[in-house]
């Protein structure tokens, strides 16, 4: 409207070139590198035992983390959106804290607490249970970095929803769990799914924090993102990019589902 058509075209061109250099061309490279010799090498790398082990571990960690963080997120959202108490704002910032902490520092904290010499780790160590450089530590690190997603989204929808319906149901004699299943959950479902989606994407894709606590043992404690790094370091180009394609597809699917969910939650451009 204000600017001439000429400068408009230039602004669009600059924006697109920048996005191409920073995001689009690098992303396309994943697929080019994986497939430029045909589909054959890609399919072969997908069958290697180390790759299969990495996929299994990644899925297993997500299967443990996502439900735990969903339950925690629902509880925390309820506590924060349905109660008024002193220090509520501070509490909210604490729940959001993992997003501000470097993943490596997050991993370091888990090692210090749950490692052999840590307050909790030493207790398990005495019982011959190893938490760090094993599955429990990797799950704890993943839970740490994905902690705020569900709570954050559900707080938003709970606040938007208000308490009228829940109170009406209570007056009519509904029990707490009935209110939750019949009134609250149907109302918050899209926001909840949005949080679960982001949790899952980060849980499957987390590299830094998990890398610190895993020991990166290929075939044992290597998740898919760690497998990418290790294969790259060992110059296994095909294995590297085949695994990277799988992770890039996961990212693409996440973005598509996110776009769909945003239509339902009516929250664009967050």
């Amino acid at each position: 409207m204000l600017l001439s058509k000429f400068s408009k075209t230039w602004l669009i061109a600059i924006a697109l070139i920048y996005l191409a250099l920073i995001i689009l061309i690098p992303t396309i490279t994943v697929f080019y590198e994986a497939f430029h010799k045909g589909v054959e090498p890609f399919l072969t790398s997908l069958q290697s035992p180390d790759f299969v082990a990495a996929v299994q571990l990644t899925v297993l960690i997500a299967l443990i983390t996502v439900p735990l963080n969903t339950v925690f997120g629902l509880c925390t959202a309820w506590v924060l959106a349905r109660n008024q108490f002193p220090g509520r704002a501070l509490f909210m910032s604490i729940v959001d804290l993992p997003f501000s902490i470097s993943p490596v520092v997050a991993g370091l904290m888990i090692v210090l607490l749950y490692g052999q010499k840590g307050w909790i780790g030493s207790w398990f160590h005495a019982k011959d249970i190893q938490l760090i450089f094993a599955l429990p530590g990797m799950v704890l690190a993943t839970i740490f970095v994905t902690l705020p997603f569900v709570a954050r989204e559900v707080i938003l929808v709970l606040e938007e929803m208000g308490t009228d319906q829940e109170e009406a149901a209570r007056t009519l004699g509904a029990k707490d769990w009935q209110i939750f299943w019949r009134i609250t959950l149907p109302n918050i479902r899209w926001g909840l799914l949005y949080g679960v989606l982001l949790t899952n994407a980060r849980a499957m894709g987390e590299f830094g924090a998990v890398s610190v606590v895993s020991g990166s043992i290929i075939g044992e404690t290597a998740t898919l993102p760690i497998f990418v790094e290790q294969a790259y370091k060992n110059y296994q180009t095909e294995a590297t990019f085949s695994a990277a394609v799988i992770l890039a597809l996961l990212a693409a699917v996440t973005l598509v589902v996110k776009e769909i969910l945003e239509r339902y939650t009516a929250r664009k451009a967050h």
Binding site: P26, G87, W119, S211, T254
Partner: protein, 286 residues
Amino acid sequence: MSNTINYSPQIVNKNQNTLWSKISIPWTITVVYLLFILILPVSALTTKSLTLGWGKFWEVASSPIAISAYNMTFFTSLAAGLINGVMGSLIAWVLVRYEFPLKKVVDAAVDLPFALPTSVAGLVLATVYSEKGWIGQLFVPFGIKIAFTRWGVFVAMIFISLPFIVRTLQPVLQELEEETEEAAWSLGATEFQTFWRVIFPPLIPPILTGVALGFSRAVGEYGSVVLVASNIPFKDLIAPVLVFQRLEEYDYTGATVIGAVLLLFSLILLLVINLLQQWGRRYATE
């Protein structure tokens, strides 16, 4: 958990019998979970740093390698945040105001750095920006090597911080009313005056918030940088990678001290971001 229930006296008083049982379950889960996942780990790091004693802490925290790593992290992140402050704002503006083919796809692609695992990001940046890569080879004639140098760290930090600026600014731009601009324009303001005096001022808080969020993310970034840099001290080693290297050497003291410095810095940044957001909200309501 009776002490936690006391935090919500109003509700307890209203429906004492039914809510006692209900409050305790979500409260208990929240508090116990936070304790084991967040509070105890943070305390473990803090306690370990404090028990070292100030002298020892300072000695490790101010060692030449550490200082060079802080500088590398801080200034490279700042540069990435600032350039994205300009380019991210431009992208947000173009996405909100103009129509062009495949706009939806471009808009969704802005979120890719959020969704793509950082090791994959580092891998592709190292490939594309290497001397033989699609983009890296364009810089070779100018004698600039990007991957495995400080420039590589810079590109990785630009990549991961870009969505923060775009996504913070976009909703504010959407609410900006074009009538105000038209009014300024029809009253005889030039294009430049309209931008500088009418459009730009309310955008300052969200742009700064976005830059601070992106900067904060870049300061803590590990995954993409570790793959695109050579991670050599005094050359392109950043603080989070240094923490990782110390851990690999089983130097828990070194890792803890530098980790504590990073944590402290993140907390200060978080405070700054909160203040910026409050400022932005005040702007929006006025």
